[in-house]
């Protein structure tokens, strides 16, 4: 592997890792703060991608599609939280698993009814349709840089929100001790709704920016869900920083695994998870 190739793989793994982080951050927050196992998180990614495909067909602009789609998904998330998830925060994990598994079926079928079962491509916006020529026959597409850029912006925004703002302080207080936070006058119900909406927004935006690269197809959510689980397990449940480290690690192992050890590449990430579990059963950064 020469330097240019190595660089490209490194950029690819960073981009994949950042995308996984967008998904896993919401998942780990929802676990950590509300204690809910959300199997339907991958479906939000899938719905985001399909919304991008649909709104782009209507408006012709990815920016409009992302903004409109995110608003729709946040609204959808708030409704889901208010009428369904809220009642499951105190139920045991088995109920949550079943509820969210039922939701996966419902979302997949709604997708099938609304948009059919075909694979659809989504056009790369003209603004990002360039690439960096590294050598004579190797280049790196600009849109992938844009994807990484979007993910970095959201990661920084999330960091700022949680550690620097008053709302973030309330979120942390709620995660640390729900009853105490509530008795100090924090409206914990509203915090939960907010965290849920953030999780959904991040997952669906990840789906939207990934749509031009991955195209949109049925069941695209389940594969990404499993990877998110691995990231959350490695990082430690509830830890956003752990999720970032784990996502980058998984990105590296997966991307370089595919190049260096293609026969077993599918398994490498799980081997990584097994090793982390042996070393730290509760993840790298347990909250």
């Amino acid at each position: 592997m020469d330097l240019a190739n190595f660089l490209i793989q490194l950029l690819n793994s960073a981009q994949y890792g950042l995308l996984l982080f967008m998904l896993a951050a919401g998942l780990t927050l929802i676990f950590g703060i509300m204690g809910v196992v959300n199997l339907a998180h991958g479906s939000f990614y899938m719905l985001g991608a399909y919304l991008a495909y649909w709104l782009m067909g209507l408006s012709g602009s990815l920016t409009v599609a992302i903004i409109g789609g995110t608003l729709l998904m946040v609204l959808f998330g708030l409704l889901l939280e208010k009428y369904l998830f809220r009642y499951f925060y105190e139920r045991d994990h088995l109920d949550q698993v079943l509820l969210t598994f039922g939701l996966i079926y419902i979302f997949e079928e709604l997708r099938s009814i609304l948009w059919g079962d075909d694979v659809h491509g989504v056009a790369v916006p003209a603004l990002w349709e360039w690439s960096i020529q590294l050598t004579d026959n190797l280049s790196y597409p600009g849109y992938r840089l844009f994807m990484s850029g979007v993910c970095i912006v959201f990661a920084l925004a999330l960091y700022f929100l949680i550690s620097k703002t008053k709302i973030g302080m309330k979120i942390r207080a709620g995660a640390f001790n729900r009853d105490m936070a509530e008795s100090l006058g924090i409206n914990i119900g509203r915090i939960h709704a907010l965290v849920f909406a953030i999780g959904i927004a991040l997952a669906s935006i990840a789906g939207m920016v990934a749509a031009p690269v991955s195209s949109v197809y049925p069941n695209m959510g389940s594969q990404v869900l499993i990877m998110c689980f691995v990231v959350v397990v490695i990082g430690g449940i509830g830890s956003v920083r752990g999720a970032l480290i784990a996502a980058m690690l998984v990105g590296l192992v997966d991307t370089f695994g595919k190049v260096l050890l293609p026969q077993v590449s599918g398994m490498l990430v799980y081997v990584l998870m097994a090793l982390v579990l042996l070393w730290k059963p509760e993840g790298l950064l347990k909250q």
């Binding site: 079943l98 939701l103 419902i106 579990l277």
Partner: protein, 327 residues
Amino acid sequence: MSQARSNLEVLPKSLQFIIAMGFLALALFPLTDQAFYSQMIARMMILAIFAMSLDLLQGVTGLVSLGHAAYFGFAGYVLAFITPDSGPISLWWSMPVAVFASALLALVIGFFVVRTHGIYFIMVTMAFSQMIFYLFFDNKILGGSDGIYINFKPDAHFFDLENKTVFYYFVFVCMLSSYFLLRRILWSPFGRTLSGIRINEHRMGAVGYNTFAYKLSAFTLAGACAGLAGFLWGAQSGYVNPELMGFHMSAHVIMMLILGGMGNFAGAILGAFSFELLLHFLKDLPTVGRFEMGKHWQLWMGLVIVLIVVFAPRGLLGWMQKKEKNP
């Protein structure tokens, strides 16, 4: 986690009577000479064994595994690999080999997963079974996404499994033996310890039980039992594919337990039968106008699951018992 609702370990006399009648009905069913339904019921009985195996983990020990299908499918694959192209293989050694292989897989994976708790356990069991799924899905040598055909049913020497009725009774005997064996285990000191772990693992540890070893044994035993079901499935259908180990299969078997009720194995059997009936019913729904309701069975199944979780989390047996207490 799930101690509140896994109970009915002691089955009331009335329920015992109903279960005995159910077994009797199953024993007599082939006399009606309905080949199609016999095959369908044999399939349900195989799934009942699978559901009981998960019950040992989930209902008895309190470990919610979201990857139990891996051990089910794996045994089917083992049968596919060891059946030669030229003719059948002996039942009497292929069955133990397949069951042992699943048990071994469960032992190895269990070594990693059993040390985790709660949400972690759910996620890690799921992740590892997906690992197995992709291993078979991605590798052409292992059958790839298409799966493998098993051209010959195992040869039992004393009876002929190619005969549908004989196969039915063989599955029936397997299900009955699994049921009574697991009921026996439930009341053995080993089973009591597992129940203790479900109710309070820390206390069991403090009393001096090596909870890790007990949980790992339960995980392995459940894997072996799931392997028996997977072996029978492979033998019956003559075909294995990665879907058998998939996430949906794992979730379906959890659904069976929820439908029937956990912790007593009878609920698992009831749940497997009702789940399969429900699935058939939903897939056969008529087309209304331009809307093919049967094709979108997942939508209805999803709604049923959500409604059950919201309204009847104790399953059919729990519901029957409640009816009996306050008629």
